[in-house]
Amino acid sequence: MKLHEYQSKQIFSRYGIPIPNGRIATTADEARNIAIELGGRVVIKSQVLVGGRGKAGGIRLAKDPHDAEETATQILAMEIKGLPVRKVLVDEAAIISKEIYLGITNDRAARKPVMMASSAGGVEIEEVARTTPEKIIKAHIDPLLGLKDYQARDIAIGIDLPKQHWKLFNQIANGLWHAYLDCDATLAEINPLVITEDNRLIALDGKMLLDDNALFRHPDLAELRDLDVEAPAEIEARKYGLSFIKLDGDIGCMVNGAGLAMTTMDIIKLFGGEPANFLDIGGGAGSDKVAAAMKIILTDANVKAVLLNIFGGITRCDEVARGILVALAEVKPKVPMVVRLVGTNAEEGRKLLSDAKMITADTLADAAQKAVNAVKTVKAGR
């Protein structure tokens, strides 16, 4: 789950990281009032969960409160990469003399958190990693010990930070570590951390990604989820504990198990089709879950055929078949359905479905081919 810039910076601030004075506004009027409070010159920053806000014109300087009002009016009317701007952050404008990158993320290969810094701030770290990897200074953090002061110092040395800033930098690095730790973040990033003309260190922009699996211990953070970035079907799927991702193709997929669900997408493509979604109904799914999954697939108007691929292990094929029958009775789909049931209670499952006018398949390859052909037939019939 992604947090907005203003949410991330508020968290950082609680951990002793200096952030610019500023507040969030939902109207141009509010933006003007905040600009008056802050003494005139401000930055108006759209709060949408996509990269490239600046390039899209979603971050702009305003020289006075009147200008702030006008700029906020324009930005609040914008859509950036398909997302509506509902809020703007109005921050006092800083005069920047240097930009730094500072972030913590999970290093999967090292199985440890890693703190990364670069003297090339303000640019995406992936870009720095691609073009000038030597400019990235890294320190792996022992998750049982936490960040050590010497590690923060080594990073300061590595990015040529003037000595006068080391003490505050250490405080910022430690604050970022504790924010990352306490929020169960998978990424906590300050980009840029700036040295101002009057020699202060300020976190000008902030970003946090949180571990969805840890939200149970952070109900306050879970409430911050911005549903604008998620497809409605994905939100609906989460309610039923289904793992669903919408894609652009026309063959709807319902599969048990994440690896098999990915493989089903791959094999559809291999035989010349395009999957409409990734959907894992999970292990041991009952008929209600299957029915919910079927409805979600069929609400996608692009879907011209559905492929159900169930390998019964823990999930029993007869149970899934019952769910399919419930869903068919409710949804009355008009598209062809290809079904493959293998494993535990597959015979019983097939028997239950024998009157349901579904296309049956024995192997994965056979199922994929039949689904692809079904779409061709539907298209030819138009």
Binding site: A214, I245, M262, K269, V342, G343, T363
Partner: protein, 287 residues
Amino acid sequence: MSILINKNTRLIVHGITGNEGLFHTTQMVAYGTNVVAGMTPAKGGEWVIEGKIPVFDSVKVAVEATGANTSCIFVPARFAADSIYEAADAGITLIVCITEGIPVQDMMRVRNYLDQKKVRLVGPNCPGLLTPGEAKVGIIPGNIAIPGNVGVVSRSGTLTYEVLYALMIIGRGVSTCVGIGGDPINGTNFIDTLTMFESDPQTEKIVMIGEIGGTDEEKAAEFITRHMTKPVVSFIAGQTAPPGKRMGHAGAIVEGGSGLASDKIKALQAAGVRVATHPEEIPSLLF
């Protein structure tokens, strides 16, 4: 021979009184696994599975009383890390964690703690282990595999079942099947398992099933080039997965251009591994 589990396995099931725990313990016992104890806090003193298996409040006490040497964990994600620590501290040498959805920071602490001890963790978020004809620890259905000489290692559950089943249909069997799990931080990786298969006399050929996310398959490819004498056949799931999206498994995600299926396939092919275009092709590449 086989790897990790066999007839000498003495299993304790964490969360044995829960729905999942009880169901799968029944299956494991029916398969012939020697389940010697269960563990559920505050249920100590009870007996389950027709009064045959004692339940304990503490793994340490269970180990002392029953000589358990292997743990299988079914407890909910929020308690799973604690269960792993408890098993490790009680002297268990093999921990199989089935639980899905453990916070990744918990797993980083767990892994770094276990690295200081002599204990192997398999999983989490995995289907467990199956040595056909001898024992199963976890949730892999016992009826879809027969004993044989193919070692199977995989990051996915049902996809593995497909392969076991496809092998069984043509009369081919498996030495041990190892589900290493779909999480970004796990206890046992491909290289660990390949090492064990290489030195296991029963295993003659290996099937390795990977998926998008991370670079474990690439590292395994390097390892295969340098150390493996036994043939390896592979399949990588997620060639059509869009970047930046988590495909069901916490670890199945292409991030910052890393973790692509195409890179993994390329690396494996360069190491002489035959990579199947779909899982049903695997038996024909093996035999």
